[in-house]
């Protein structure tokens, strides 16, 4: 039986609590009495037979004919799938996307479909390496399609490979992969890790170009996405939905969405997803061992240790068919796994930023990504209203010392050194620099030929955090490099007590505090 999430109130019986901070974690015993700690629900049961569940979904889709009925000889079939930014951490092989794609291809082969292409829907994310693609689609699919060039990363800067489908009634350009747009059937295989993913965001964003993305990936939209984990109240999703509906007029989309449970930490790190007071002696010993190991290990080794983790997710659901009908069912499962009811807002929100976010898989968590992770994803993990009150303070844990990966994040370095030095206001930097970065030929070159995120990507990271920056008055990083924090426009403290002291100017000396105990993922339903 999996227990639901709940809100702990720190009392004198509470043991020190785990707070993630980059390539490590802290045992925080400094939470003031009365601090609320939001725990995610325990992993909900996985489906007993994955292959069976997939077949069931494909044969009995929602608001659509069964997949075999949509397949015929001579048709153009395109299969798009989520890139390596999902799920987090990377799933241990076999990846669920590969298992689904195999079944889809089996049906396509039976139906005699010859023209099949597989596209990783990486939008402006970096191109994945062959090994990364192989991990996602599985060896069989990889061997059958990759050498011929029929399995490839989407290239949002390949002018010849894009199709402009028109504009929405709000004037948003819809420009997506030409191959996808001109297919007889577009099958999209998604991993719906959090509530933000999936739906019309899959095709409408995953296969779109900068021209199309700029309409919703900007500071103004993001400030009004409250939150982007709740698509019904997210400007960004409204825009994606408009775009998605327009795409639907041009191409038949067969959406396959999957949901996962919260088994993110494999042994021996499973103590990280247990509630601390339920740690066995073995858990405590493991934790101590890991902590001491981390303390002596050089950063490279810690990085390798964490990034080599492969999660042992259980599949909790797979739904196929028409995008919106599917997404509704998907969200139900996601909410079942992530939703925790929280009563009222608090003055201070505490979050630990872990080693991994969507954009540093096999890479480093640079300060901009850490900001995006904390103030973007974690801050926005709410439904209703933010966990922290307007004008409150956010306290984040992360050392901000990982530096930049020059291969993956070349434009981030310039964004950090040049743009943030001038202003940290998302609207201001977007206005002045976004175009320059988006059109810089070198960034475009690296995006297309190397493994670099698009030049404009750091701006998106900053926009992600725009809502949080707009909402709170004070952001303090515990354990962070002081200079880096100040470049980001924030402050640094060495301990939670110091951070609360610093925040007392904003929220007083005895603020109400809420700590979001994730990962594993949670979604605070703030009443």
């Amino acid at each position: 039986m999996s227990r639901p999430g709940f809100v702990l109130e720190v009392d004198d019986r509470t043991p020190p609590l785990v707070v993630h901070e980059g390539l490590g974690f802290r045992l925080e015993d400094g939470f003031p009495l009365g601090t609320r700690v939001v725990y995610p629900p325990e992993s909900i049961p996985a489906v007993p037979d994955v292959e069976d569940a997939i077949r069931e979904a494909l044969l009995h889709p929602h608001d659509s004919e069964p997949l075999p009925a949509l397949l015929r000889p001579g048709m153009r079939l395109t299969i798009a799938f989520d890139d390596l930014s999902l799920p987090l951490p990377t799933m241990g092989a076999p990846d669920i996307r590969g298992r689904i794609i195999e079944q889809v291809l089996t049906m396509a082969a039976e139906a005699g479909v010859d023209d099949v292409q597989l596209i990783a829907a990486n939008a402006l994310h970096r191109r994945m390496t062959a090994a990364e693609l192989k991990h996602i689609v599985g060896e069989r699919v990889f061997r059958s399609f990759y050498p011929q060039g029929d399995l490839y990363n989407f290239d949002a800067e390949d002018r010849d490979g894009l199709a402009h489908l028109g504009t929405t009634d709000k004037g948003e350009d819809v420009e997506i992969s030409k191959r996808a747009a001109e297919s007889d059937l577009l099958v999209y295989v998604n991993v719906n890790l959090v509530a933000m993913d999936g739906g019309h965001k899959s095709v409408g964003i995953g296969l779109a170009s900068y021209r199309s993305l700029r309409h919703h990936h900007n500071a103004k939209t993001m400030v009004h996405s409250r939150s982007f984990m709740d698509h019904k109240h997210s400007e960004m999703h409204h825009s994606a939905w408009r775009i998605g509906r327009l795409i639907k007029e041009h191409v038949r989309v067969f959406q396959i969405e999957t949901t996962l449970n919260n088994d993110v930490f494999p042994r021996p790190f499973d103590f990280l997803q247990k509630r601390e007071w339920e740690w066995s002696v073995k858990d405590q010993a493991t934790m101590l061992g890991v902590r001491r190991g981390l303390a002596v290990a050089p950063q490279k080794m810690r990085h390798k240790m964490f990034h080599d983790l492969r999660s042992v997710y259980g599949l909790t659901g797979v739904n196929a068919g028409e995008v919106e009908a599917v997404h509704e069912r998907t969200l139900q499962k996601v909410h079942q796994q992530h939703l925790v009811e929280v009563q009222g807002q608090s003055d201070v929100l505490v979050m630990g930023v872990p080693y991994l976010g969507p954009y540093n898989v096999n890479s480093s968590m640079n300060p901009i990504l850490a900001t995006c992770m904390g103030l973007g994803y974690y801050f926005n993990s709410y439904r209703g209203q933010p966990v922290v009150r307007k004008g409150g303070a956010v306290i984040l844990y992360h050392p901000l010392d990982e530096g930049f990966n020059q291969l993956h994040h070349p434009s981030y370095v310039d964004f950090y050194e040049e743009v943030l030095a001038e202003s940290t206001d998302p609207a201001v930097v977007g206005e002045k620099y976004e175009q320059q970065f988006a059109q810089d030929p070198w960034y475009i070159h690296l995006y297309r030929t190397s493994h670099a995120y698009h030049g404009v990507h750091p701006f998106y990271m900053w926009y992600w955090a725009a809502h949080a920056m707009d909402h709170v008055d004070e952001v303090i990083w515990v354990g962070a490099d002081r200079r880096v924090a100040s470049r980001l426009g924030f402050r640094a403290a060495s301990t939670l007590a110091d951070a609360l002291e610093m925040a007392s100017g904003t929220v007083g000396t005895s603020p109400s505090i809420t700590y979001l105990h994730n990962p594993p993922h949670l979604l605070a339903d703030v009443r």
Binding site: P4, R13, T14, W277, E278, L288
Partner: protein, 308 residues
């Protein structure tokens, strides 16, 4: 250096936070989310493996036995039945004192003692790790639940592994030295696993160290213990009937111990075995009677060959 210091700090933090050596605590607000039937019983499998057996041998022979003999005198009768019996068996004894277990174990021949485990109340002997470790190391105890719940190791498994058991069917120490009501667990086990029950009667442990006393009374009190003929459950016999038969056997042994074999046999045959639960008289008289240590000389007719 700083690494060592940080390690020490970490260990201290965890030791304090998780209350090492004490009961773990659940934050009040989390109590409703903690599964209720959390078993706090410790595993004892290790205590029936070779290293623990070796340690127990040393502890019993070098520690327990000299200490026990220095505090009490014992007279053991009826061990010859064990020579005629194949293990495993269930020893069923009356229970009046913490001395009962060492008395029974130290009275058994070595080869029997080494393969005998003692059923002990999970809620008392197994609720802290140090008491669990200590008692299972020294007395080879394993937990049974007095209230009827699932246990980490069931008596059946222990029996099946070829271990004999000591079970006190009363479930608790007597408050006045007389025998209390027998529960049917021992009889059930014997019937279920088809092992014989060896009745054991002992006297004097209540007089030497009653409930509430932490150490035997001074003066090397006399204890007597007597093993009886094995009782085997009949194929058609109900657990209830069998349990009664076991109790009668223990009662007859007690009678024999305080009188003679012949007299006890005759009384048993006529159904006049004294009730081991004692006379229905004032409580003080019941206690008074039991605080008298048995005499090693009675019965007078004592055969050296049978004694030990």
């Amino acid at each position: 250096m700083s690494f060592l210091k940080e390690t020490a700090d970490d260990v201290r933090l965890v030791a304090r936070g998780w209350r090492w050596g004490r009961r773990p605590q659940v934050p009040r607000s989390a109590e409703e989310w903690v599964p209720a039937a959390r078993s706090t019983v410790f595993h004892t499998d290790w205590s029936r493996r070779r290293p623990a057996m070796a340690a127990r041998e040393i502890a019993q022979k070098a520690g327990l036995e000299p200490l026990f003999r220095s505090q009490v005198r014992t007279r053991v009768e009826g061990l010859d039945v064990l020579e005629r019996t194949e293990g495993p068996v269930i020893f069923v004894a009356n229970h009046a004192s913490h001395l009962d277990t060492p008395l029974i174990l130290l009275s058994l021949p070595d080869e029997w003692r080494r393969r005998t485990a003692v059923a002990a109340a999970a809620d008392y002997f197994f609720d802290t790790w140090w008491r669990a470790v200590g008692s299972s190391l020294l007395f080879n105890t394993f937990p049974i639940d007095r209230r009827g719940g699932s246990m980490a190791a069931t008596p059946g498994e222990v029996l099946a592994d070829g271990w004999s058991l000591v079970i006190y069917p009363e479930g608790t120490r007597s408050t006045d030295g007389w025998v209390g009501r027998f529960r049917m667990g021992a009889a059930f086990l014997a019937k279920e696993y088809g092992v014989p029950v060896v009745p054991v009667a002992h006297r004097g442990t209540f007089a030497a160290m009653p409930r509430g006393q932490g150490w035997p009374s001074p003066g090397r009190r006399q204890l007597t213990i007597r093993f009886g003929e094995p009782v085997v459950a009949g194929a058609e016999e109900s657990v209830r009937d069998f349990s009664a038969r076991v109790k009668d056997a223990v009662a007859a042994l007690l009678d024999e111990d305080s009188s003679t074999w012949w007299e006890a046999r005759r009384r048993a045959a006529s159904g006049a075995t004294p009730d081991p639960t004692g006379p229905k008289v004032a409580q003080w008289r019941r206690v008074w009677a039991q605080t008298q240590s048995p005499s090693a000389e009675a019965p007078a007719r004592r055969l050296r060959a049978w004694s030990r």
